[in-house]
């Protein structure tokens, strides 16, 4: 549906040094603390994203994986503009979008869409499916006639494997998988080119997961979509992605093509993560055991955020934050060990 991109090398989305800090200290009175006998105002902040940079080329399925609390959902929401960033830049189609006013942002709202995790919370329970699908269309195309709107909604409904009869019903009448189809239809109805999918299948049963993954892959083929796919399930990521970014504690550890990442993980965290994937019929545990626990993002470790759990950490890792460096084969890894060649 979208015009094919002539220039494949130019990124569709470009993120530079993106940072996001959440203030979790609550109200003014909660911020007051006594220190050395003096009353002081102190803010507690969570550093959810630390200088994250990456590019997504048109037609890619760029996956972001990591464990809960690593900031992958925050990354998706900051990229799409739900959260304002506290540092860094987001460029879309060559234009910087994180500083745009909501009016100037409107044309991008049509081009970028999002699919959410919880199929029970992502559809307004008081609206009929028809209203859920028609409202964005009418909003972005006020000149469309009622017939055109209706046709477009039906067309999208069919594409997501839904039924025209669904349109008159309320969300609570559907199963989780059906709701997720409606969610996808809502994203597709404005004909976007880029979709951020935040754990779109993790709330679904296995047999339904396959249906939704297939639907997303079909939509990618038919509409030339670009995905940013946020997930914690590595086997799903392996199946759907072209490129994968591994996140830990708000920082990117490794960014690589899917084949390279799964065949030859560089970063020690990526290795541990991959070894932990449960595989059908794999016996005998050969999991890489990590030391300790994930630290809180309130007090980030110095140096490499992973050094406290890394089996190969040395003095430099404690001291110096590693840069995301390009390896010979194009893999990006943020690890002193990889850089020094001792891993």
């Amino acid at each position: 549906m979208n015009a094919p991109f002539s220039d494949k090398t130019k990124p569709l989305l470009s993120v530079r040094d993106l940072s996001k800090i959440f203030d979790i200290s609550g109200g003014f009175l909660d911020q007051l603390t006594l220190k050395n006998g003096r009353l002081r105002r102190e803010k507690t902040t969570v550093k959810a994203l630390n200088r994250v940079s990456f590019d997504i080329a048109p037609g890619e399925t760029f996956s972001v994986v990591g464990e809960s609390g690593c900031g992958k959902s925050t990354l998706g929401r900051t990229v799409i503009g739900l959260y304002p960033p506290d540092g860094g830049e987001v460029h879309y189609g060559g234009e910087r979008i994180d500083t745009l006013s909501s009016r100037r942002m409107l044309p991008f709202r049509r081009r970028m869409q999002m699919v959410f995790q919880d199929p029970y919370a992502s559809l307004n329970p008081r609206k009929r499916v028809a209203a859920i699908l028609e409202e964005p269309l009418r909003f972005h195309h006020p000149d469309m006639t009622a017939d055109e709107v209706g046709d477009r909604v039906k067309e999208v409904m069919e594409q997501v494997g839904g039924d025209v009869q669904w349109l008159t019903r309320l969300p609570h009448e559907f199963s989780g998988g059906q709701r997720q189809r409606i969610s996808i239809a809502r994203a597709l109805v404005v004909d976007p080119e880029f979709i951020v999918a935040d754990e779109p299948i993790s709330a679904l049963d296995v047999s339904i997961q396959a249906q939704i993954l297939n639907l997303m892959m079909d939509a990618r083929e038919q509409r030339g979509l670009t995905y940013m796919f946020i997930a914690h399930d590595l086997s799903v990521v392996e199946h759907i992605s072209t490129r994968v970014a591994v996140m830990y504690l708000g920082s990117l550890c490794e960014v690589a093509d899917v084949d390279r990442l799964f065949a030859d993980p560089r970063h020690p965290y990526t290795r541990a993560l991959l070894s932990a994937i449960p595989r059908l019929g794999k016996k005998k545990s050969d999991h890489v055991r990590l030391k300790g626990e994930v630290p809180t993002p309130i007090n980030l470790p110095t140096g490499c955020v992973f050094h406290g759990r890394c089996l190969y950490a040395d003095e430099r890792c404690v001291r110096e934050i590693p840069e995301l460096l390009k390896q010979d084969d194009g893999v990006l890894a943020a690890c002193h060990g990889v850089e020094e060649g001792r891993l």
Binding site: E67, D205, V206, S207, A210, V236, L280, S285
Partner: protein
């Protein structure tokens, strides 16, 4: 291997205003001493109900409508509440999905462990604490003496689940029923917890029933798998048989729906059409037939009983599917 647990034709109904609903329909399986069984199914398949029914913990409006549960030869499904309470948490322990729901947030874990011990045994404080420390060490909690005096919120999710397991181990149970024990946890933590279960079962010859939706997790941990669908066990067998050579069309579909790794990257996944029926609308005959690619006329007419299936290497299993009925022709 002597039978540790025998579940025979267990049926659980829910009494609702519109009539009775069958949540568990004639579930039958057996578990040997030290054996590990995976109870796999999607949400609504009745796997948790099965776990609760074994220890007679079905809450209203549910009730056990039929069948028996024998634990070490004793029929525990017929025992009075008082007697079964002595078995629960003592000889049979349970581990649930959300550790925060099981742990009391205002008591230290030491207090909670000592209380659990003293509820079943007549022992003193220091002796109980010694056992608690021992069990915490067994689940690899570092410096257990110190950790005993901490509150649940001071532990991470993975640590909490370890504590829950330590509490389950307190009275040296012969059987642990773990209901989705790692679903709320991250993959790396999940792998560690599963390793722990495996290690404990081998050390103590304890039986394990692992209830989960994740076939891959089960396949790494248990020796046997029972696959549930709409309140029934549709296939049962040794793990490698069920995973490599699934016989029931539902198991086949479920396994084919999983992303298989490198060689099929980016291809369409096999999908089972439709969704699992809700308990109010279980179709007649075989409950899977509307979604089954091999459905025959007979499938919508009558429900298949458990039929034996054989594997080339001499192993055997069970599948509730008309395809394996010798009286119904080929296959």
């Amino acid at each position: 291997m002597s039978a540790l647990l025998q579940v025979q034709d267990l049926t659980v109904n829910f009494a609702l205003r519109t009539g009775d609903l069958t949540a568990l329909n004639g579930v039958t399986f057996a578990l040997g001493e030290g054996e590990r069984l995976g109870l796999v199914g999607e949400s609504g398949a009745g796997k948790s109900v099965a776990g609760f029914a074994i220890i007679n913990l079905i809450g209203k409006p549910g009730y056990i409508a039929g069948g028996r549960v024998l634990f070490q030869g004793e029929e525990i499904s017929a025992l009075p509440e008082e007697a079964i309470r002595r078995i629960r948490g003592h000889r049979i322990s349970m581990v649930f999905q959300d550790p925060m729901m099981t742990l009391n947030p205002v008591l230290t874990i030491g207090t909670q462990m000592v209380e659990t011990l003293q509820a079943h045994r007549n022992i003193g404080q220091s002796e109980a604490e010694a056992i608690a420390v021992d069990k915490l060490r067994q689940v690899h909690i570092p410096s257990p003496e110190k950790r005993l005096h901490q509150y649940p919120h001071e532990f991470s999710g993975g640590m909490r689940q370890r504590i829950i397991i330590a509490i389950a181990l307190l009275n040296d149970p012969q059987l642990i029923i773990a209901d989705e024990p790692t679903t709320a946890l991250d993959v790396t933590i999940q792998a560690e917890i599963m390793d722990l279960f495996l290690e404990l079962c081998r050390q103590t010859r304890m039986g394990l029933i692992l209830i989960t939706h994740d076939l891959a997790v089960v396949s790494e941990t248990t020796e046997k798998i029972a696959v549930m669908y709409a309140g029934e066990i549709v296939e049962e067998g040794r793990t490698e048989d069920v995973v490599r050579r699934p016989r029931h069309p539902y198991t086949q579909g479920l396994i084919a729906a999983l992303p298989q790794g490198d060689d099929q990257r980016g291809t369409r996944l096999n999908q089972i059409p439709g969704t699992m029926p809700t308990l109010t609308r279980i179709p007649p005959g075989c409950s899977f037939h509307p979604r089954c690619p091999h459905a025959m006329d007979v499938c919508s007419e009558r429900a298949p009983g458990p039929l034996p299936v054989a594997y080339p290497d001499g192993g055997g299993g069970m599948a509730a599917c008309h395809l394996y009925d010798p009286n119904l022709g080929d296959r």
